[in-house]
């Protein structure tokens, strides 16, 4: 049974009960943002790189059909099996089908947010297949039965004490030992055994190259490589927007990706997979799952340019203080908030409102997605489609009436500062959320208008 999903504001309230932890979470991610700034500022052509990447992706989105056909043709020629999945369910069935064909019940997986989006682990578990996530962060959250809270740093919400406790419970490490060296060593031993005994490895895809039919997976730990190289079957799952036209374009994207994500010049491994080695089977599952719909939404299509670097999360002052889980979506943060309403507008109606529209996200984005403008536009769509709360609608009606009628506005202002009672901050009189942690402004004796009439108007 699925537990009830808390709205972003409520989940944030819970997250904010531990003030010290919120401060730590904020500082940790701000540190990553600062590293990104240093890396970006060391490249004189940084802004040119961003606009180039954005243009390349624009070209891809405009010619998606042709590039997909080209990619499929070339990948097939390389001896790779290609599968097409219209939605999450079909994706999961395809993956399970490959596993079942090989009569396998255990597999390793690495670096795939798409399988999170499709809830593959749950599906496979129900079908008797055990999946082990091999990247350290992903393994930690998997042991805790939690989803990743960040697309690049899946366990960033956890402190080393939390990891120590988790490993103590699941891997039998010493209780209370939180030494990172010790804990990583324990994870390493645990995973090494797993790698050697799994016949199927699943990875994500960072870039798929139409021209050559190959794909690139970027990692720091090399676990994707170890999984793929040791296994008899390599399954790579990708959303169709991962395409880039030519191999030379990698030079643009690889320079942007790691710098934007963690401030590294490049990830430790940028592994190119082109054809299965002798005796190996290689599959690519190309997934739509709402992407065609998003591509058809003119205002939101640019969201498909995303290369999943997570820079918008690290810079987002809201994300840093609410944590990834508060977004109740596989992809959290600003980018998640413009992708999620396309997947389920009712469930994710709160997300575009979980932002101050400060615009920092759009300006760190390596492919220049107009994230904060899209958040604004999603708000309009969500209200028009009828997903706004009724109390909000009533408040807005009263406000609109007053602000559209100067006489009402002026009289209202005089009568004990109409604003005091009716601006959105104060709509729920009894439980004024403004006042919980803030003093109200002190109403002056006269408004500016009254002062002007008394002193200036001749």
């Amino acid at each position: 049974m699925e537990s009830k999903v808390l709205e972003h504001s409520k989940a944030s309230e819970v997250f904010n009960q531990d003030k010290e932890r919120v401060g730590w979470h904020d500082e940790t991610l701000w540190f990553v943002r600062s590293k990104r700034d240093k890396a970006a500022h060391n490249i004189p052509d940084w802004e040119l790189l961003r606009s180039t990447a954005s243009s390349i992706k624009h070209n891809v989105l405009s010619n998606m059909h042709d590039y997909l056909v080209e990619f499929e043709k070339n990948a097939l020629a390389n001896g790779v099996h290609i599968h097409w999945a219209a939605d999450a369910e079909e994706h999961n069935k395809i993956v399970h089908g490959i596993i079942a064909k090989h009569g396998v019940t255990r597999m390793v997986k690495s670096k795939s947010m798409l399988t999170e989006e499709c809830h593959l682990n749950d599906y496979l578990a129900k079908n008797g297949v055990e999946v082990i996530d091999t990247d350290l962060g992903e393994r930690i959250v998997q042991l805790r039965d939690e989803p990743p809270s960040h697309i690049v740093l899946p366990a960033i919400h956890l402190k080393k004490e939390d990891v120590g406790e988790t490993f103590h419970i699941h891997l039998g490490t010493e209780k209370g030992n939180k030494d990172p060296q010790y804990l990583t060593e324990a994870a390493r031993h645990h995973l090494r055994e797993t790698f050697l005994t799994r016949k199927i490895a699943l990875t994500g895809v960072n870039f798929a190259i139409a021209q050559t039919g190959e794909f690139v997976v970027c990692t720091n730990e090399g676990n994707a490589d170890m999984g793929a190289h040791l296994a008899d079957v390599h399954i790579a799952c990708m959303g169709f927007e991962k395409l880039i036209p030519r191999r030379e374009h990698l030079g643009v994207f690889l320079r942007l990706l790691a710098r934007s994500a963690t401030g590294q010049p490049i990830t430790t491994y940028s592994s190119h997979f082109k054809k299965p080695r002798e005796g190996q089977e290689m599959h690519i599952v190309i997934v739509d799952n709402g992407r065609s719909t998003q591509l058809g939404r003119e205002d939101f299509r640019n969201s498909l340019k995303c290369i999943r670097c997570g820079a918008c999360m690290n810079t987002c002052p809201v994300y840093r203080r609410s944590g990834g889980h508060s977004y109740h979506n596989a992809v959290a943060g600003p980018i998640g908030s413009i992708l999620a309403p396309n997947l389920d507008m009712r469930k994710n109606a709160d997300l575009p409102f979980a932002s101050t529209l400060c615009g920092s996200c759009s300006n760190v984005c390596p492919v220049k997605i107009d994230i904060h403008d899209q958040l604004y536009k999603w708000r309009q769509v969500i209200v028009k489609e009828g997903y706004a709360a009724t109390s909000k609608k009533l408040g807005m009606g009263a406000m609109t009436f007053t602000l559209s009628n100067p006489a009402v506005y002026q009289t209202g202002g005089k009568v004990g500062r109409w604003f005091m009672r009716n601006i959105p901050f104060v709509v729920n009189n009894g439980l004024n959320p403004w006042f919980k942690n803030r003093e109200m402004p002190e109403p002056p004796k006269e408004s500016f208008r009254e002062w002007y009439l008394n002193n200036k108007k001749s």
Binding site: W46, F353, A354, T356, L357, R379, P424, K436, S447
Partner: protein, 246 residues
């Protein structure tokens, strides 16, 4: 030069002294300033909440009140940005388009149009500048830390002309304060935490005043400062720039 003074609704109601300072400052700098009496609000509170379709009345009123001026000047980056980006009226689109081009936030009007280089202002205090996001990233009043691009700051350009003013350097130069319009109540917990963190950055630098171009952000920070019984005060940049100008 005929200037239409556009005073945000919450400034009209809660902070009339900012309207007065803006008006006095512009007059001292030689502008003929008019305050159109039937103005109410730019419509941003509705639009940012997803109700842009309800802002037709506000848009009509805005055009009624502000057509015909050489410039429209407003002591708020956020309200100015909203007009620049969202003022439309089907029947009077041409007029709306003229207004969108002629509307200026106070600071950029002083630096870019009046080209003020010598303010006679005096403010003997230690001050932190809060860069409001819509002014900074929206109107580009200052370079943002996200971009690899040369530094500039129009508000600092003006504050540096103020005698005896000691402007501090913050550890996070352009982090959002968490006001965010209706966000400040719909996402109360995050909004407050963001505000508290912003306040702390200023307090760590021992400021006496936090200034900025948007009173909405400052109102939020003021609410937090007063709740914490902090001695730090907020003051709109118009009040500093207008202090003792002859």
């Amino acid at each position: 030069m005929r200037v239409g003074l556009f005073i945000p609704c919450y400034v009209d109601q809660f902070y009339p002294q900012i309207g007065v300072a803006t008006l006095e400052l512009l007059e001292k700098l030689g502008c003929e300033v008019h305050f159109p009496l039937n103005q109410t609000c730019c419509g941003q509170p509705m639009a940012n909440s997803g109700f842009e379709h309800l802002t037709g009345g506000c848009n009509s009123l805005f055009i009624d009140n502000f057509e015909g001026f050489d410039y429209i000047v407003c002591p708020s980056g956020s309200c100015t940005l909203h007009i620049k980006e969202h003022l439309h009226e089907e029947k009077r689109e041409e007029k709306a388009s003229v207004i969108r081009k002629r509307v200026y936030e106070l600071v950029e009007f002083l630096t870019d149009i009046l080209k003020v280089e010598n303010l006679e202002a005096n403010f003997p205090h230690r001050v932190g500048l809060h860069q409001s996001c819509h002014g900074q990233r929206g109107l580009k009043l200052a370079q943002m830390s996200e971009l690899n691009a040369p530094f500039f700051s129009k508000p600092e350009q003006l504050l540096k002309q103020v005698k005896q003013l000691d402007l501090v350097s913050l550890s996070r130069k352009d982090e959002c304060c968490g006001f965010g319009g209706t966000f400040c109540v719909t996402e109360e917990a995050i909004s407050v935490r963001m505000g508290q963190d912003r306040v702390k950055d200023h307090e760590d630098k021992n400021v006496e005043f936090i200034t900025g171009g948007d009173m909405s952000c400052l109102m939020h920070l003021e609410g937090i400062l007063r709740r914490q019984q902090s001695p730090v005060k907020v003051i709109h940049i118009a009040e500093i720039l207008n202090s003792q100008i002859k």
